[in-house]
Symmetry: D2
């Protein structure tokens, strides 16, 4: 890595997450070269920041134009579709910071491919969804090239409220899987609690029902506060699609398998999300509740 | 119930919880007649508040001397041992407020027995442990006699930061079981997360490890903050004994069975707590982690 | 107990199981006094064996008329409804052999009640359903009064192909629960296998599909052979109602809880049966498959 | 495929399974060219059948010398190590029959690679272990090249008591996974049953205990008869190593994930086997019982 701070950054993937992240950088005066599969979204961003933001025609063109390129693709499929073009443009002096949630293995493969072309690679999956992305409140869970981590800390600091370096490539993705395992289990636990309370004829609302009682106690947490009332209404507009949540639980179970760690609670949660995936895969992961709630229940 | 507020209250059970609760009442100037199996604890309290607090020789003597008696026994066994003496003294005008966490069925039985002697009965199990009991920050989850609930609201308000009335007898205990089901599942989820992170060689601490990442995210909650660091140290000094947590999960599963609600996540959590019960039944329920963590793990 | 063999036996409960069992005894020349809630069924049996079989008007009348009375009620509710009448007639020299599948605790209570009236009590729950009951191929799992066990061994030998004495009262019921736990888990395992095979587009039939492959291998067993093809057809005519199978799994889990034995597989099976209970409680326990099979699947 | 039956067959992998299978073919007069990583085992076989069996120096040499080559490698690792040498020798007219238990995906990859070199490929994983391999009682679960299946049916008939063709490549491996899923679940169910019976103080033996009761009932099966008594003795000499059984459960769960089929019972079984893997991975899969049985239990 060069010692001086890069003056221009690349950004591939201007979707739900990427748009907010890129805007945080632009607001702080960073120059960006952006690319998006749906070019309209990239063009829209460039139109908002004409002095700072330009649109490239391919991921490779982004990489060619910038020292450091952030990639924020939402799925393994999207990541795999974009990576070859990115890779083609990598050469000595080029750095890639990948913010997607992928398996540790996939991160290792990408690092190896980038390193084979003398580039530097940092995994930086994020904890947080659309809202935190827009307000610069993400949490970056990094692994891989330590020097690159130090170079991009200012930018991670703009896009996030905290960032961590956990060591060798894969460590950041493993931490992300653990976080999502805990989160998925908790969503499933809340769903069972709401189901049981509903069946028992207890109020569930956040004024004087279960959600309020939970809020007042030691398990009070922002996710229950945000999602609980929506679950009762049957509103599962996606912040974090259920199919992605289930995929992360599966990856966490696979990681446990690799490491001799049995995770029976997570296995049960994964089964619940999997049972909900066919009908609710694109809904928010709170939709697991749709398969947990008493059958005769109608929204209160 | 008499319309005027009682001038004197009974309190049976001056244990970990009861002592803090009784002291809250005494601090606010309520006169108490107390009883405890280990009389020394009752005497100690009376010595601290000689003008307000006197010691009775039996639970029945407490009831005989007061219009309203609070009972705070920690287990079903303790409750069953004390109740006959309480019951014997019940007659018209006597009211019993039972704050133990028991099954809905047991609460119904006690209400029926009290009602058969013309007494009034309110179940008022609490959410919260030793700390909140001492500082008057419990949450009361009430069911049963509505008029009695209104009479004792001032005292519940002294001992707790919130109180709820959920309807007929049993409803409060059901809500308590749901809350403890969610809490037990969450503790188990945290334990699996810590186990997975440790096995993966990731830091777990609350400075720059998993606990810190969880604290910054949407699942951040007081229980993880309080218990997480202790779990890593192997410190399971009991706030909520594991055997009681497991019992409540079992009761929640039984409630689900009664109501046609399958709770597969909770069933897995219950199995984990049950597997830990023999060796860690008297430890805090966080000790479930001892059976989840990687075998070779030594405290960091 | 008298040393000489009884010349006449009582039989309370001439239902699906009891009828076959009673007929086995009659075919071997035993004299029976029978009682059934639906008196028509008892009368029908008496009409078939006019020299050997007479109908009593109450369970107590049966007990009063015979030294040894077999009880074969299908549920706890039926058993509890009949027992008071039975008990009332018990005195010294009277023996009760209860063949229902109840909890160990219930058996202990009944034994205590019978013993308090100087009677003898043997629990003798059976493994086997309608077919084996008719052909005298049941298996009796006994506990309680050893001398009574020896007295009725000839009759157990007529109704069953094997009988076991496992010791103190409750032991027979515990063994029954273990057997039904293994059986319930296996049914659930078969259901998951059929579901997975169907979803994978594999043939499942017993000619050249999964059921045939299973039949040829080390897990081949009569239950899979009998139930497998019916499950594929959606034929769940009850031999063993699902609600009873689920109840036994719950009792097995409770027994495990009492004994510090976590049974996570059985807990998952219980959750599956419980999820199926509302819609399929009166169907055969093979109907758990209805909630396991792929949603779009139509019978082949 | 040529219409005429091959006069000579190749056999790669003369291990626990392969040795018995190869001997069955030799006994029936088939000429074999064999290869094994540990050449001594191949040489020993050749010495026993000097007229029929010759040893090749590499898998590729086997393929080069024969029209049809059977491969029987015990693990994915062994299979992956051998396949490149096999593949190198494949050309038009060469056929590969792979009898390993691998993922459907791996079978598809091998088929594709063989097809790219104009060869034919049949997957033929087997149900059955060492004993059936020696006595010609395996069950072949085939998928892939139908014409090749017809060509080798005589040889499959020599090595096995039954063989099935389930369609396109991968179908045989999927069926194998389903069979092993049912088997793994059943072993886990037996283990929980034995654990519960032991804790309850019930006899478990196959004379007058749980194993005998199971043997007499509808769930009676060869696996329980064979493994049950050994489990009680703590004898887990491997027929089917636990780590392989756990791997197959994981693959079955993955297949379920691919197909939208939640398998909560199998997930619980997988967790049990995974918990046992570290200490008992090379023992028989019956060793899952070591982690299920009551802690204080000593062999009876």
């Amino acid at each position: 890595m060069k010692a001086s701070a890069p003056s221009k950054f690349g950004f591939c993937g201007i979707g739900i997450m990427g748009r907010g992240m890129a805007q945080c950088l632009l607001k702080e005066g960073r120059s960006l070269v952006v690319w998006n599969r749906d070019v309209a979204k990239a063009a829209e961003l460039a139109a908002m920041y004409p002095d700072l933001c330009s649109v490239a025609e391919s991921p490779g063109e982004v990489v060619a134009a910038c020292d450091v390129t952030f990639c924020m693709l939402s799925t393994l499929e999207a990541s795999e579709a974009v990576f070859p073009s990115v890779l083609e443009a990598v050469c000595e002096g080029k750095s890639i910071v990948d913010c997607a949630t992928l398996t540790p293995q996939r991160m290792i493969e990408m690092r190896d491919a980038v390193a084979a072309r003398q580039g530097a690679f940092l995994e930086a999956p994020v904890s947080g969804s659309k809202g935190p992305a827009e307000t610069g409140n993400l949490i970056f869970l990094c692994g891989g090239d330590r020097a690159l981590y130090e170079v991009v800390r200012p930018e991670l600091g703009i896009m996030g409220k905290a960032n961590f370096y956990f060591g060798e490539i894969g460590a950041g993705s493993k931490m992300k899987l653990v976080v999502n395992q805990v989160m998925g289990d908790m969503m499933c636990a809340l769903g069972e609690g709401l189901a049981l309370a509903q069946a028992a004829g207890l109020p569930c609302d956040n004024e004087s029902g279960l959600l309020k009682v939970l809020e007042l106690g030691v398990v009070s947490n922002p996710m229950f506060k945000l999602k609980g009332p929506k679950m009762l209404e049957g509103n599962h507009a996606p912040n974090f699609p259920l199919k992605h949540a289930q995929k992360d639980l599966r990856f966490a179970l696979q990681l446990g398998d690799d490491l001799d760690v049995a995770l029976p609670l997570t296995a049960a949660a994964n089964a619940a999300f999997l049972a909900a995936r066919k009908d609710h895969g694109d809904d928010d992961f709170s939709a697991v509740y749709e398969t947990q709630k008493p059958p005769s229940n109608s929204p209160p």
